[in-house]
């Protein structure tokens, strides 16, 4: 789904809530995923202007979970290492979007380069974080 306007952040949260519930996650993990999606969707809206959120259920052997990707062709993250430290922010955020989303999920991958956009993938596995 596209992230273009502020209300798309709410739509992203609703979509993730539905997908995570459907995948079988409990309320706490659903809340973790929804909150992570809210941070990352807001990052797209705030820094890139527009982008996309793509999600799917995933399987790996016995494991089953959900993967959510946030893709934009915005300015990219200049100092990824710094952005991963809580408290870092180039605008008026609390600077906890990236590190927060990482803590709330099981895996996070970031691909970015200045001027080349950003792609962030988060995954959460059922039963992996004891909810």
């Amino acid at each position: 789904m596209p992230i273009c306007v502020e209300s798309d952040i709410v739509s992203a949260r609703r979509a993730v809530r539905e997908a995570a519930t459907h995948a079988g996650f409990g309320t706490t993990d659903v809340t973790r995923l929804v909150t992570a999606a809210s941070e990352l969707a807001r990052n797209i809206y705030k820094y890139a202007g527009t982008g996309n959120m793509i999600w799917r259920e995933i399987r790996s052997g016995e494991l089953h979970g959900i993967e959510i990707r946030f893709v934009d062709s915005g300015p990219g993250i200049v100092d990824l290492e710094a952005a991963m430290v809580a408290g870092y922010s180039t605008t008026d955020g609390l600077g906890m979007g990236l590190p927060g989303a990482k803590r709330l999920t099981d895996e996070m991958e970031v691909t970015t380069a200045p001027g080349k956009g950003t792609s962030i993938t988060v995954r959460k596995w059922l039963g992996a974080s004891g909810s």
């Binding site: 502020e6 706490t28 973790r32 909150t35 809210s38 955020g93 927060g100 709330l104």
Partner: protein, 125 residues
């Protein structure tokens, strides 16, 4: 898709501010103006911010809540955050949100009891 609004009602000398389940950023940002205006218009000692319906609290929402509480303090009032759901509290903590400076209550009932205790001469605590 209809967005829900914040409800602000005056109960005796406190404002009861109830946040909807999944508010848009615009609604969240309205928390500050609506609350401060209501504070100025009504003679109240502070407000109870009811978060019992809220399904997720991200950094933007949390920052607005803490800033609003700080503004209420500047206006001479006090804020009690009431009714945060367990998954929301767990997630907010893991996300790294710092709401520690705020007075909190398990639910609105407990928050009203805190206010009642103040009437006996004590500060809200």
């Amino acid at each position: 898709m209809k967005s829900e609004n914040i409800s602000v009602i005056k109960i005796r000398d406190v404002l009861m501010v109830t946040m909807p389940a999944d508010p848009e950023d615009e609604t969240v940002s309205g928390l500050q103006s609506q609350t401060l205006e209501a504070m100025a218009q009504n003679e109240v000692r502070g407000l109870i911010l009811d978060l019992s319906r809220v399904e997720s609290l991200d950094s933007y929402f949390a920052r607005t809540v803490t800033e609003t509480a700080r503004m209420v303090t500047l206006m001479g009032g006090e804020t009690i955050i009431a009714g945060m759901r367990p998954p929301v509290a767990i997630t907010a903590t893991q996300l790294g949100l710092k709401l520690g400076a705020l007075r909190t209550a398990l639910n609105v009932d407990a928050a009203l009891t805190m206010v009642g205790e103040t009437k006996a001469g004590k500060r809200w605590q």
